[in-house]
Symmetry: C2
Subunit: 273 residues, 2 copies
C-alpha cells in the first residue's frame, strides 16, 4: 500500500491520529522536502515518530518516483507532505503512477494554507483565485499574477498569494558540470513579495490600475505554529515589515469587508503594534 | 483556556495528535453540530475520546456563547468543529468574544472541504470563489450563486459549491409557539443541487448563458472517509446521480483543463462506472 499523508503546517503533533498510526507501521517513510517546509525540522519529526525518514528532494520525487513506489505493492510505503497531499500537482502525479502499476493507495488529508489562512479573520468564501509569486531574476520578471489579484479585487474578493521557496536549486554554473552544486535555500518574505508588487505598480503607472501602493494587505508567518504572526497594513508599509523566519504568505484584501472581518483584523494592525 | 479544534472530515482518527491531547485534558468539550457533520456520529467520537461530549446546536453556539466561555478563564474548555475551525464565521465570532473577556485561546487547524476537494485531481489554484447553494422554498429561490459560478467559468476557473444542510431547524408553525418543534435533518445531494442549477438555466433561457446543462461537473460524497465517492458527468446527468449519504459537494468545472487534471478525472467518469 502507498500512503500520501498530510502533516499540516506547524509541528510534529499536527499529524492526524490516523496518519501517525500509518507512519508507525510503514516499512519506508519518505518526507517530501521541496514544495514546502514544516516550521519544525526533520530531526524533530524523526524523534516524535521514533523512526528514520528518507528525505525526498525534487530529484527523488520527480525522477525517482519508481523507486518510491518500487515495492509498494507488497510493502507499506508512505510519503509525508507538508500541508495537504493535494497541494502540489506532483503528488497527484504520484497517485496516477501508483494506479497505473495497480498499487493501492490511501490519502490522509490535513490542513493546508488554503484553509488555515482563515486565522486572519477573513472569510474563506470571499477569496478568489490563489496566486503564486515567484522570485524574480534579472532576466525573468513575470507579472501575470498581478492581473489575477486585480481581477479578484474587481470581483470584491481577497487574494491569497503563496510565496516562492527555493530548496536545493542547482547553481546555474553547476548545471553544465557533472557534480551538481546547490544554492542555499531561500524563502520569500512578505516584504520581498510586497516589493515585487510595488515594482509592478511602478512599471504599470501609465495604465489605470485598480490596486496601488495603498491597497490593504495582510502578512502571515508560520501559520498554525506557536510563533504564528499576522500583521495588516498597506502594500507600501508591508515592504518594510519583518515577520521573521519562513514560511510567509501574503493576502491582498478585497475592496469591501464584512463588519466581522473588520473587527477581527483590528488586532493585527501595524499601527497598533 | 478556550480551544477551537478542527476534526477534519471523516472519522474520529482524523483529529490531530495535538487536538486529541487537548480533548483528553479539557474540563468541558462541546461538539458543534449544525454547520457541518462528520461522516461518523457523535457516539463514535465519545467512544474514541473515552469521554462525554456536549452537543452544541445553533442556539447554544449563537445565543449561549457566554455559557460556553463562562469559566474558560480558569478551566480548559474546547469546542470541536467539523473541518477547520475557520470554516464558519460563527467560530470567528466566538474567538472575538473570548478576546473581549480576556480569555486565552488556541486554534488547532485541520483539513476542510476547501482543500480536501483536491482529491478529485483538479488543481486547487484553479478554483475561483467558493459558493453556497441553499435549499429553495416555494417563495424563496435565490440564484445569485449562478452568476458567481458563471463568472469563475469566464475566468477559466472551477467552482466549489457547498451544499446546504438543515439541522435542528424549527418548523414554521412552532416559531410562534413556546415549545419549539424541529424538522428532520436534511442534507442537499448533488442531484438536488444540479436540479436547482438546471432550473436557473431554464429560467434564464432568454439570456445568453456561459454555462448550460452540458457543463462538466464533479459530484463528491463523504470526502476523506472510507466510503468517499467521486463522479464526473455533465450537469443534466448529475441531476440523476445518487452518491448515497451526506455530505455532498458539487464542482462546476472550468472550460479548460490541465492535461494532468484530464488524466486524473477519467477514473471518475460516469460513463466508465
Amino acid at each position: 500500500m502507498f500512503y500520501l499523508i498530510g502533516l499540516g503546517l506547524g509541528d510534529p503533533k499536527d499529524i492526524t491520529v490516523k496518519g501517525l498510526e500509518i507512519v508507525k507501521k510503514c516499512d519506508r517513510v519518505y518526507l517530501e522536502a521541496y514544495t514546502s517546509i514544516l516550521t519544525c525540522g526533520a530531526e524533530e519529526l524523526e524523534k516524535f515518530y521514533d523512526r528514520k525518514l528518507i528525505i525526498a528532494d525534487r530529484d527523488l520525487v520527480e525522477q525517482g518516483a519508481d523507486d518510491i513506489l518500487a515495492d509498494s505493492g507488497e510493502k507499506d510505503v508512505a510519503l509525508l507532505v507538508v500541508g495537504d497531499p493535494f497541494g502540489a500537482t506532483t503528488h497527484t502525479d504520484l497517485i496516477l503512477r501508483a494506479k497505473e502499476k495497480g498499487i493501492k493507495f490511501q490519502v490522509v488529508h490535513n490542513t493546508s494554507i488554503l484553509n488555515a489562512v482563515g486565522c486572519c479573520g477573513l472569510q474563506l468564501y470571499s477569496f478568489g483565485e490563489t496566486v503564486s509569486i515567484p522570485y524574480w531574476t534579472e532576466t525573468w520578471q513575470p507579472d501575470s499574477f498581478f492581473d489575477k489579484i486585480a481581477n479578484n479585487y474587481k470581483n470584491q474578493l481577497h487574494t491569497l498569494c503563496l510565496l516562492d521557496i527555493k530548496v536545493k536549486e542547482p547553481t546555474l554554473e553547476s548545471l553544465t558540470r557533472k557534480k551538481r552544486e546547490y544554492m542555499p535555500p531561500k524563502f520569500m518574505t512578505v516584504s520581498e513579495a510586497a516589493k515585487q508588487l510595488l515594482q509592478i505598480v511602478e512599471n504599470k503607472k501609465s495604465e489605470e490600475l485598480i490596486i496601488g501602493e495603498k491597497v490593504m494587505c495582510i502578512g502571515l508567518a508560520r501559520v498554525g505554529s506557536e510563533t504564528q504572526q499576522i500583521i495588516t497594513c498597506n502594500l507600501r508599509e508591508m515592504s518594510e515589515v519583518d515577520l521573521g523566519g519562513p514560511l510567509h504568505s501574503l493576502i491582498v484584501v478585497g475592496p469591501t469587508l464584512h463588519p466581522l472581518e473588520v473587527e477581527y483584523l483590528q488586532q493585527f494592525s501595524l499601527k497598533k503594534s
